[in-house]
C-alpha cells in the first residue's frame, strides 16, 4: 500500500500538437480507489501508463509511497496492472499466469503454489488453474488477470478498463466484485474507465480528464451535485444534466417563454452577467400546466421509469432537447406539446464563456 502523487506530470507524444497528459496534479491516498474517467483521447490511459512506467514522463514527476519513480523501470515500481484485453500469457496455464510475477521475483516454488492457490480461491477460479487462457470465457480471463495482480500483493493496482470486454450483465457483477475486493485488500487502486457509471459506483474519488487536462477530482456525489463546469455536468449522470442557454436580469433567468428565479443566496455569483448556462438534472424537471413549452420528440421506456425527450426553444432560433425522468405509467404521444416546470431550488448555473460553475444548490 502506498500513496501516489502526480506532480505536474506531462506527456507529449511525438508528433502530437497538444500534450496527451498536460501538467497533471493528483494525489491518491493510501488505500484509496481512484477512478480516472473521461472520453476517448482524454489522456486517462496515458496517465495510468505513465504511472506504470510504460510511458515516459516528459515533465513533472510521479511519486509512489513518497519515492520519485519517474526514471524507475516498470518491474521495480511494485505495482500490478490489469489490462483491457487482460494480456494473459497464451502459452502458460492459469496457474503459471498468476504465478509468473512471483517466479520472476525469485519466490520459491512451494511458496508460489501456496499464494497462487490463495489468490485463485479468492477469485473462485481454483478449478481453472491447469487450463490455458484460450480455454476460458471472457469473465474467467478477467478473473485470471485480477489474480495475476493480487497474488503479488503490490503497493498499488492499476486497472485499464478491465470490464470493457465483458457483456453488460457480467460487467455489473464484476464491477461490484472488484470494488468489494479492493475494499477488502485495502490496496491503493487507480482505475481507468470511459464509463461514468463505473466511475460513480466504484471510486472513492473520481478524477475527470478532458484533452489531457484534469477537470475535477472529487467524490462521486460531489461530482454529480457540483460539477465544476458544463463538460463535467454533461458527462456525469445518465441521462446527463440538461444545459440550457438562459438570459439573466436582476435575479431572474429567462429560458424561452419561461422564467426561473435565482435563489437569493446565489444572486451575487450571477452578478451582472446577461447570460448564463442553466443546468438542471432530468430527475428535477416536472411536467406542469405551464412553464417552458416543448414538443415530445422521443419516449424511452426503461421499465422502472420513462425518459422523455422534449424539444424546446430556449433562445431564438435554437432548439435544445431536454430530458426528464417521469412516471412509468404516464403515456405520451410524439409531437405532443408539454410544459416543463424548472424548480429554482434545483438549478445550477454556469458561466456562458468560461463554462465554469457559478452556483449549485446547497446540499
Amino acid at each position: 500500500m502506498a500513496e501516489i502523487t502526480y506532480e505536474n506530470a506531462t506527456r507529449h507524444f511525438p508528433g502530437g500538437t497538444i500534450p496527451a497528459v498536460d501538467a497533471l496534479d493528483l494525489q491518491i491516498a493510501e488505500g484509496e480507489f481512484m477512478v480516472l474517467v473521461g472520453p476517448s483521447g482524454s489522456g486517462k490511459t496515458t496517465a495510468l501508463r505513465m504511472l506504470a512506467g510504460l510511458e515516459d514522463i516528459d515533465d513533472g514527476r510521479i511519486m509512489i509511497g513518497g519515492k520519485d519513480v519517474s526514471g524507475v523501470a516498470p518491474r521495480d515500481r511494485d505495482i500490478a496492472m490489469v489490462f483491457q484485453n487482460y494480456a494473459l500469457y497464451p502459452n502458460k496455464t492459469v496457474g503459471e499466469n498468476i504465478g509468473f510475477a512471483l517466479k520472476m521475483h525469485g519466490v520459491e516454488r512451494s511458496e508460489r503454489d501456496r499464494r497462487v492457490k490463495e489468490a485463485a480461491a479468492l477469485l473462485d477460479i481454483e478449478g481453472l488453474l491447469d487450463r490455458k487462457p484460450k480455454q476460458l470465457s471472457g469473465g474467467q480471463r478477467q478473473r485470471v488477470a485480477m489474480g495475476r495482480a493480487i497474488v503479488r500483493e503490490p503497493s498499488a493496482f492499476l486497472m485499464d478498463e478491465p470490464l470493457s470486454n465483458l457483456d453488460a450483465k457480467l460487467r455489473v457483477a464484476t464491477r461490484a466484485q472488484i470494488a468489494e475486493l479492493q475494499r477488502r485488500l485495502g490496496v491503493t487502486t487507480v482505475y481507468v474507465t470511459h464509463d461514468q457509471v463505473e466511475a460513480m459506483t466504484m471510486g472513492d474519488r473520481v478524477a475527470l480528464l478532458k484533452d489531457g487536462k484534469l477537470q475535477q477530482c472529487a467524490s462521486p456525489q460531489e461530482l454529480y451535485d457540483r460539477p465544476a463546469n458544463t463538460f463535467i455536468a454533461g458527462f456525469i449522470g445518465s441521462p446527463p444534466m440538461n444545459l440550457l442557454p438562459a438570459g439573466h436580469q436582476d435575479g431572474k433567468l429567462t429560458i424561452g417563454d419561461a422564467h426561473v428565479e435565482v435563489p437569493e443566496a446565489h444572486r451575487s455569483e450571477v452578478g451582472r452577467l446577461d447570460n448564463v448556462t442553466l443546468g438542471v438534472r432530468p430527475e428535477h424537471l416536472r411536467l406542469a400546466e405551464e412553464g417552458m413549452a416543448g414538443t415530445v420528440s422521443l419516449v424511452e421506456e426503461l421499465g422502472a421509469e420513462i425518459h422523455l425527450h422534449v424539444r424546446t426553444k430556449p433562445a431564438d432560433g435554437e432548439e435544445v432537447d431536454v430530458v426528464l425522468r417521469t412516471d412509468r405509467h404516464a403515456r405520451y404521444r410524439l409531437g405532443e406539446t408539454v410544459h416543463l416546470d424548472i424548480p429554482s431550488e434545483h438549478i445550477l448555473a454556469f458561466h456562458p464563456e468560461s463554462t465554469e460553475l457559478l452556483f449549485a444548490p446547497q446540499a
Binding site: 506504470a52 512506467g53 510504460l54 523501470a73 516498470p74 518491474r75 515500481r77 505495482i79 500490478a80 496492472m81 489490462f83 483491457q84 484485453n85 494480456a87 494473459l88 500469457y89 497464451p90 502459452n91 502458460k92 509468473f100 510475477a101 520472476m104 521475483h105 495475476r148 503479488r152
Partner: protein, 275 residues
C-alpha cells in the same frame, strides 16, 4: 437454386484448375522419381517408358559415387548457418519491432537492400576475400556465407511475427518483473514459435539448395549436394537415371522437413492473417 448451382459449378471449375496447376507443378518431380528407378537405357527414350521394371541400381551407384560426403557437408552448412541466423536475427528483429531503435526503418531497409544486389555482382570480391583468407573449399566458409545470405529475410520475417504479439502481453511481463531476456524467452518466443519454425525452415531450404557460392568457392572437400549433382550432368545425357536418383536423394531432406513442419509452417506463414 440457380445461384446455388452457379456457385457449385464455379467451385468445381476452380477445383479443377487448382488440380491442374498442382499436377503441372508436381509432374517434373514425379518424373524425376520415376526415372530414378529406371535403367539408364529406359531413362531417355523418344517414346517415354511408363511401364518398366524398377531397380535400385542407380541409388547404389549414387551412394558408391560419394554422395555421403556431399550430404554431410550440406547438412553442416545448413544446420549451422540456420542456427547462426536465428541467434543473430532474433535479437535484431526484437530491436526492430518491440523496442524499435532510432531510425529502425533505415535499418530494415539496409537489411533488405543487401538482397537487391545480385550475388553474381558480389562474387568477385567475395571470391577474393575468401581466397586471401585461405578459406577456399572450407565448409565453415559456407556456413558464414549462408548465414549472411539468409539473415535479411530472417530478420524481416521474424519482425513481422514479433509485431503480431500483443504489446500488452509484453508490457504485462515487464510489470511482472521480467527483464528483456525473460520477456523474450518466457513470453515472446513461445508465442511466436510457429513463426520461428517457419523462418528456420525457409533458411534450411535456401541453404540446402544453394548452388552459386558452392560452385565458386568449393571443390572437393567442402562440396555440397547441389555441387555434387552437377557432376552427373554431361553433354551426352548418358546418366539421366543416376542423376534422377541423386536429385531425388538431394530433395528428400527438404521435402521431409517441409512435411514434418507443415502445420507449423502454415501457422507461421499465415500468422498475420488469422488475427
Amino acid at each position: 437454386m440457380a445461384a446455388q448451382k452457379r456457385t457449385g459449378a464455379a467451385r468445381a471449375g476452380w477445383t479443377a484448375l487448382a488440380w491442374l496447376v498442382g499436377i503441372v507443378f508436381f509432374f517434373p518431380v514425379l518424373w524425376m522419381v520415376l526415372t530414378s528407378f529406371k535403367q539408364e537405357r529406359d531413362a531417355y527414350t523418344t517414346t517415354p517408358h511408363i511401364v518398366f521394371t524398377p531397380t535400385l541400381d542407380q541409388y547404389k551407384a549414387v551412394f558408391s559415387g560419394g554422395i555421403g560426403t556431399a550430404v554431410a557437408n550440406s547438412a553442416i552448412a545448413t544446420i549451422f548457418s540456420t542456427l547462426l541466423v536465428l541467434v543473430l536475427a532474433i535479437p535484431a528483429a526484437y530491436a526492430l519491432s518491440i523496442r524499435p531503435i532510432k531510425r529502425y526503418r533505415d535499418g530494415l531497409f539496409f537489411f533488405i537492400s543487401t538482397k537487391m544486389l545480385p550475388i553474381v555482382a558480389a562474387i568477385v570480391p567475395i571470391f577474393l576475400a575468401v581466397r586471401n583468407l585461405g578459406a577456399m573449399d572450407n565448409i565453415w566458409t559456407m556456413v558464414v556465407l549462408y548465414a549472411a545470405m539468409n539473415l535479411p529475410i530472417a530478420v524481416w520475417m521474424l519482425r513481422s511475427f514479433f509485431l503480431e504479439v500483443p504489446r500488452e502481453t509484453l508490457e504485462a511481463a515487464r510489470l511482472d518483473g521480467a527483464g528483456v531476456r525473460q520477456e523474450l524467452t518466457e513470453v515472446m518466443l513461445p508465442v511466436v514459435a510457429p513463426g520461428v519454425a517457419a523462418t528456420a525452415l525457409i533458411c534450411v531450404i535456401f541453404s540446402w539448395n544453394e548452388f552459386f557460392f558452392a560452385l565458386n568457392l568449393t571443390a572437393t572437400r567442402a562440396a555440397t549436394v547441389p555441387f555434387f549433382l552437377v557432376g552427373f550432368i554431361t553433354s551426352e545425357g548418358l546418366y539421366w537415371a543416376q542423376l534422377s536418383a541423386a536429385a531425388t536423394l538431394a530433395s528428400l531432406p527438404v521435402l521431409l522437413a517441409g512435411w514434418i513442419a507443415q502445420k507449423q509452417l502454415v501457422r507461421g506463414l499465415s500468422m498475420g492473417a488469422i488475427k
